[in-house]
Symmetry: C2
Subunit: 307 residues, 2 copies
């Protein structure tokens, strides 16, 4: 069997169609799909300053490489990479070293923000006393810093490396836990209009599966190995991931169908749940947007980090 588009031998079988592609055709297909997502959903505008959330993983590394490739030559667009140093020994230190080299090669400014500097303690130090699930506190602190630092950098967009698998999982998690209002905040372009407290988020890898992004990162030689976070404990997401992967194996195209179903109802969800967004307050302590009087980050700072 040869590649669907040329005579080379294929390296990958696409998941939502019975098509196999060779390395070069797969890379073309992948990049075309990212460009199409950017253009269909108007993810990038004139004069944008795109801050790209990077971790050194396959998703955000591919994203950074591609945004630089696609709009890096445009004079009106500025690109900055933003990495969060949670302070995880034997993990984040290594990926930050990789990122420094990678950004230097790409000629992209890299801004590193650490929990230690911002909150006074690294995640390793926090976890000495905090006995809850690490991802719970770390997710809150990381999202807080990404939004806050992107604003300080005067970003007009915050780009993240979420892929189709991530999105299908989030959609199903919200559906199976009856969190529909939270689903309204998903999608390839998110953010609340005319609320300057939030930097709009864009997900250019939205329509590419995890398998495709991983293949792209390795076939392009962007990285030669990767390590998963040693603290990762996402029990619920893992259940849903397994369930979706299992169904995708039996019925190829399921992940795409889930995301397409979601995109069909997303305008309805946004309309319905935007009433709630008017209720978003500013935290009395840090002034960042939040749903309560005091935001979760400030509560963690008081009850966990300072204690």
């Amino acid at each position: 069997m040869s590649c669907k588009k040329c005579i080379e031998s294929p390296v990958i079988k696409l998941t939502n169609s019975p098509v196999s592609l060779c390395k070069s055709c797969f890379i073309k297909y992948f990049e075309k799909k990212v460009k199409k997502t950017i253009s269909d959903y108007k993810l990038i505008d004139k004069n944008d300053h795109i801050v790209i959330a990077v971790s050194g993983g396959k998703d955000s590394t591919s994203l950074l490489y591609l945004i630089k490739k696609i709009v890096g030559e445009r004079k009106d667009i500025k690109i900055t990479a933003l990495a969060i140093d949670e302070g995880i020994h034997n993990y984040r230190d290594e990926s930050l070293e990789f990122l420094k080299g990678f950004c230097k090669k790409l000629k992209v400014n890299l801004k590193i923000v650490s929990y230690k500097e911002e909150f006074g303690k690294s995640l390793d130090e926090i976890l000495k006393t905090y006995k809850g699930i690490p991802c719970s506190i770390c997710g809150v602190l990381r999202r807080y810093l990404l939004n806050k630092k992107a604003k300080e950098l005067k970003a007009t967009k915050l780009a993240t490396g979420h892929n189709l698998d991530d999105e299908a999982q989030s959609i199903m998690m919200n559906y199976c836990r009856n969190n529909m209002a939270i689903s309204a905040r998903l999608g390839p372009l998110t953010g609340i209009k005319k609320d300057e407290r939030f930097i709009p988020r864009i997900k250019p890898l939205y329509f590419l599966t995890e398998k495709e992004v991983t293949s792209y990162a390795f076939l392009k030689g962007l990285m030669d190995n990767f390590k998963e976070c040693p603290n990762s404990q996402q029990a619920y997401r893992n259940n849903i991931r397994e369930m979706i992967n299992d169904l995708e194996l039996k019925i190829p195209g399921t992940k795409h169908s889930i995301v397409n179903s979601f995109l069909e109802i997303l305008p309805l969800l946004k309309e319905e749940y935007s009433k709630d967004s008017k209720l978003i307050k500013s935290c009395l302590k840090c002034m960042e947007p939040c749903s309560q009087e005091i935001c979760k980050t400030c509560i963690y700072i008081e009850t966990v980090i300072k204690s």
Copy 2:
């Protein structure tokens, strides 16, 4: 451990809360929940003629028993049981015998309509030449006859025994296959306003799990055994059933959450997809409602049954 509500020993653990109930408290809980569904969703109105689709299975037998118990004494409400005799040897003949006795005991009129009389061939005869999936053709013919015969009986409601598991499966099947327009036709009360071609459908067992309905049928002694259809081949539904049951085991309450998420967006779906309902035509051959020029039943009659 004793029953949550009294001192008897429990017979069943509810699925969406950590509560165990004894036989008598479970039956009270079950019946109260059916009454609440009927009242919350206004499933039954004054002067209704409720035609109940019965098969002799645990769901529709419990439904028939309960509708008779709840509104059977009301002078303004008429109840008729409607059974479809597909003509499946060693299966339907037995359940029809059971139904005749059961309806006689309950003093409910039973109307039996057969494929043989209506279409000229029994399902067994049809399947001698039709080599597709039996449920595909049988589902189309059965739904056609239920709607048509309910209309002939001058029903104002057609009640079916769908339970929470059935609904959660249908919701997920539509989501995972990107059939959102079809989802808009689900819910405890369905039907298109002011379209007399459709008899509104009601599902009083909507909020009870399959486990609960099965337990109710056996604890009340409504039936002492049951048989599944020998032709059943619902590959996709079985995949989804397995997936949801697996998730429910890990995270109890998942089925309820799926249905609650769905009910939250159902008004939005109905609004969005009701545009389509205006496009519903009448079949040029039989005048029954359909989306094409000729309905699926008439196509099956021409291409499969008469051939």
